[in-house]
């Protein structure tokens, strides 16, 4: 089945999300769709799935124009979405999730799970998905859950599969398996749209590439004739350097030491299991691992948001296990939190107010009776220039900034003071390429000024690019350590360690 978008334009108020987009999707082909956050990828896909209707232009299926009225129309026409955030009910079985909404039934509305299981097995066998139909979703690893999402759209007889950032949650090994499935689907005649911002993946799996920037298709090409630099330039609109330029680390004394730190999470599971690690001044230590293996809890313990059940945290030789968050701050610990909306900023505060969240009490800003607002505004304006936060005014709501600028605001606040230790968790999540470059540069600069830097990220590329030393977390433990001086760590070995294969991974 072929689908074509012809001159599709979609506006939200004054913002043009899609501007006269032409796109051809062909059966038996993997179309790679590349673009930064906010480039208009999601809008385009929502048009294809029927959630939005275009203001101009038309959609053609096998040459015939169609009209989508609502969210169900896309799948009815054979276009299926696999969302970045899984749409699965964790306490249902695979079969229940797959048939939900189109259930086989008997008399009295009876849910025929036996038939459902058989149908799931049939699709399983056809495409080699190997998903157990009777397992509960919550018991399955993320990679398998993703296959359940694919099963769901196949069960609905989709001929076009739209995969939105499908590899974000997978380990490198799982990514390889996943590519195998994508190729099998393509060979079975399905049309695949693979949306991503990861350049090497799109070069590996796509048969044809379209690049989207500011709502327009700005480039089209054959992956065999393109390289990462060319693609990145198309995507961002200017040349981008990837490799973070940095000199070899000059590690000094111990800045942060954890000894035997263990913790039980709220859900009663072991979140941290006897973690012992050190971050020295003048080095970047990266924590690699699939999300949910204790990284969040590790950062919480270090920054004082929770107390460990057992073990010691030392900062510059001082025991800070039970110290307050503010005490840690004043001792020179900076924290860039993993979810800026949850714990990094206040959406409804102005940019200026957000900039002093960690220092408003300081004598610099606080007089005996009130906060010295002119001083705050002036300082915030200076930070904005320094960190390239693009805003017409510091009096605007923090929440009104784009994701990249919000993150730069948080980074500015945390790094623009005397720091000794920087804890950066997912420092570039949801941030465009230009801002990523800048944030990375600042983290390296902090290192070169003698800070200890700890980076936690689910993007292995980021860890590999920044770290001098890499620790891998799996099920709450540090399972492997790699020396990454000059980027020499073995990517494959790290991937194996992330999946829990510990033997022989210690390097």
């Amino acid at each position: 089945m072929d689908v074509e978008l012809r001159g599709v334009t979609k506006r939200f108020g004054p913002v043009v999300a899609n501007d006269k987009v032409n796109l051809v999707i062909r059966g038996g082909e993997v179309l790679g769709l590349l673009g930064e956050n906010g480039a208009g990828k999601s809008t385009m896909m929502n048009i294809l799935s029927g959630l939005y209707s275009p203001d101009e232009g038309e959609i053609l299926i096998d040459g015939k124009p169609v009209q989508f009225e609502g969210p169900g129309d896309g799948i009815a026409a054979g276009i299926g979405m696999v969302h970045q955030h899984f749409m699965l009910v964790p306490v249902f079985t695979v079969a229940e999730n797959v048939v939900l909404g189109v259930e086989p039934t008997g008399k009295f509305d009876y849910l025929d799970l036996k038939r459902a299981r058989a149908q799931v097995r049939a699709i399983n066998d056809q495409y080699g998905l190997e998903v157990p139909p009777d397992e509960l979703i919550e018991d399955l690893p993320v990679g398998i859950q993703q296959r359940v999402e694919i099963l769901k759209v196949l069960f609905r007889k989709a001929d076009v599969l739209i995969l939105d950032e499908p590899t974000a949650v997978l380990t490198p090994q799982e990514v390889q398996d996943f590519f195998g499935i994508v190729r099998a689907l393509r060979d079975a005649g399905k049309a695949i749209v693979f949306i991503t911002h990861k350049l090497h993946e799109i070069l590996e799996v796509a048969d044809r590439i379209n690049v989207l920037r500011q709502g327009r298709i700005v480039g089209e090409g054959d992956p065999k004739q393109l390289n990462e630099e060319q693609l990145a330039e198309m995507m961002v609109g200017r040349p981008v350097t990837f490799a973070v330029s940095k000199s070899p680390a000059q590690p000094g004394e111990d800045r942060l030491t954890l000894t035997g730190v263990s913790m039980i999470s709220d859900r009663g599971e072991t979140a941290l299991d006897n973690v012992t690690m050190t971050v020295r001044s003048g080095e970047v230590v990266g924590i690699a691992g699939v999300q949910g293996n204790g990284q969040t809890e590790l950062v919480e313990v270090i920054t004082g948001l929770t107390r460990p059940g057992r073990g010691k945290v030392k900062f510059d030789g001082q025991d800070i296990t039970r110290a307050s968050v503010r005490a840690r701050h004043m001792a020179g610990m900076a924290h860039i939190p993993e979810d800026r909306h949850k714990s990094g900023m206040v959406d409804n505060f102005t940019i200026a107010e957000n900039m002093v969240l960690n220092s408003y009490y300081d004598s610099e800003f606080s007089g005996p009776l009130s906060i010295d607002w002119p001083k705050v505004h002036e300082t915030a304006a200076r930070y904005c220039v320094e960190f390239d936060v693009r805003t017409p005014s510091v009096f605007l709501r923090g929440g009104s900034l784009s994701g990249g600028n919000q993150q730069k605001m948080v980074v500015a606040r945390e790094l623009e003071r005397q720091t000794r230790l920087v804890i950066a968790s997912q420092p570039t999540r949801g941030v465009d390429v230009g801002a990523i470059e800048y944030i990375h540069e600042r983290l390296i600069r902090a290192r070169d000024e003698g800070d200890g830097v700890l980076i936690v990220s689910s993007e292995l590329d980021e860890i590999m690019g920044l770290s001098d030393r890499i620790l891998v977390m799996f099920e709450g433990r540090i399972v492997a350590e790699f020396d990454n001086t000059g980027g020499k760590a073995d990517r494959n070995a790290i991937g194996l360690a992330m999946a829990g294969a510990t033997t022989g991974a210690m390097a």
Partner: protein
């Protein structure tokens, strides 16, 4: 190495270990309570009647020697306590505590009955009757919380059902009153759904508003109007209807098969709800809405509509349960006559892990406590009747605070859904 690991997990499990030890201490205290307070003289016996003289199949009386029984009971409690203290934990904690409390209740029953005779069948029959409004309240809770609407308003719906049952029953007869009670319950369900689904009002506040509104209106009418026009508050009562043959089975017959329409109705509704929620297409969709509404929405399931339908159904079930207070027992409405049964119903829902059958079983526990206090008042125990009247509520606290393991509510419970 093994030692190291032991101390290690010991320390991080500190709160768990403390909980385990508290369980042990409670059990040993119960053993002492049975041994010294519920002390029964060695020679005396407690007589439990299993059937009435009119029954088709008469059974002999159950005669229990009180002294030895309570000694054994204290022994078992002490054993469980020590065991719990030394190596309890995990699911053993709630299991031992559950067994412990059951033994305590038995010992208490023997102690109170010593030297007298007591109709066991009568008490079990009353257990079932008293469980009905709690079970129906719990079932209403299951229906609405399975689609993620927290329904605090069940108390108000019960009260509205009781009031409407009495008023319309007086005017139209029993069946008319019953139908009207269900309609009014459904109407309050609709109001709750409108407030929390469409207007996304806080679910606890919306429920509380309904409770206060119903309490105010019904109390006003009953004190200002019913007192002057007694004919408006004089409804017929549904009598028990014995199912032929089945009602002749000893003990079980009078418990289950010689009851009024509310008992049969509750049992049938629980069965239907179980089939509906877990074996039908609509049930699967309803549960999906309660667990992951966004996923249900992307698959073409109308989240808002599903929530409206189920909260209205819950209201109708609660209205039916409310009618029990008037049409099923005294035929007359009194101020606040539901006395918090709706909230106990919610406790039954949690104890029953959001499953209709579980809620029914939990309701029977509460019904037992309720009927126990009622029958004990007749036995002239030295305990003041006010303390006995607390039994159902104490049972609620013990059950909710102590015995519930890791029951898990539907994931989206209480959260409004906003379409994108």
């Amino acid at each position: 190495m093994t030692d190291m690991t032991m101390t290690h997990s010991d320390k991080i499990d500190l709160s768990k270990a403390r909980q385990t030890r508290v369980g042990g201490v409670i059990l040993i205290l119960l053993a002492l309570l049975v041994l010294f307070v519920l002390d029964v003289p060695m020679g005396s016996v407690a007589t439990f009647k299993l059937s009435r003289p009119t029954d088709a199949i008469p059974l002999g009386d159950l005669v229990v020697p009180g002294g030895p029984f309570n000694l054994v009971a204290a022994g078992i409690l002490a054993f469980l306590g020590v065991r719990q203290f030394l190596r309890g934990g995990g699911r053993w904690t709630s299991l031992s505590l559950g067994i412990g409390f059951a033994i305590l209740v038995l010992a208490f029953l023997i102690w109170a009955t010593t030297g007298k005779s007591f109709s066991l069948t009568g008490m079990l029959q009353a257990t079932v009757v008293r469980a009905v409004p709690i079970a129906l309240g719990g079932l209403a809770g299951v229906l609405s919380e399975r689609v993620a609407v927290v329904n605090i308003a069940i108390e108000g719906m019960l009260l509205a059902g009781a009031f409407t049952g009495a008023l319309m029953g007086s005017l139209l007869g029993g069946w008319g009153g019953l139908v009207a009670a269900m309609i009014i319950g459904g109407a309050f369900g609709f109001i709750l759904a409108a407030l929390v689904v469409t207007y996304r009002m806080d679910q606890i506040i919306a429920g509380t508003v309904i409770n206060l509104f119903v309490l105010g209106v019904t109390s006003y009418v009953s004190s200002q109007v019913f007192s002057n026009y007694r004919a408006l508050n004089n409804a017929p009562v549904f009598r028990s209807w014995a199912i032929p043959y089945l009602s002749d089975i000893p003990v079980i017959g009078p418990m289950l098969f010689n009851q009024n329409i509310f008992v049969y109705g509750a049992l049938i509704l629980v069965g239907m709800a179980t089939y509906y929620l877990f074996f039908t297409r609509s049930g699967l969709r309803a549960r999906a809405v309660g667990e992951h509404p966004r996923a249900a929405d992307t698959l073409g399931i109308d989240v808002y509509r599903t929530r409206y339908v189920h909260v209205i159904m819950a209201g109708m079930v609660a209205g039916f349960g409310g009618a029990w207070f008037t049409l099923g027992s005294v035929g007359r409405f009194d101020e606040n006559m539901t006395g918090g049964r709706g909230f106990i119903g919610l406790a039954a829902m949690i104890f029953g892990r959001w499953h209709p059958v579980g809620a029914l079983a939990a309701a029977l526990v509460f019904g037992f406590a309720d009927s126990l206090q009622q029958k004990m008042a007749l036995l002239n125990t030295p305990i003041p009747s006010e303390f006995l009247a607390m039994a159902p509520y104490i049972a609620t606290i013990v059950v909710v605070a102590g015995l519930i393991g890791k029951a898990r509510a539907p994931a989206a419970d209480g959260k409004p859904y906003v379409k994108e």
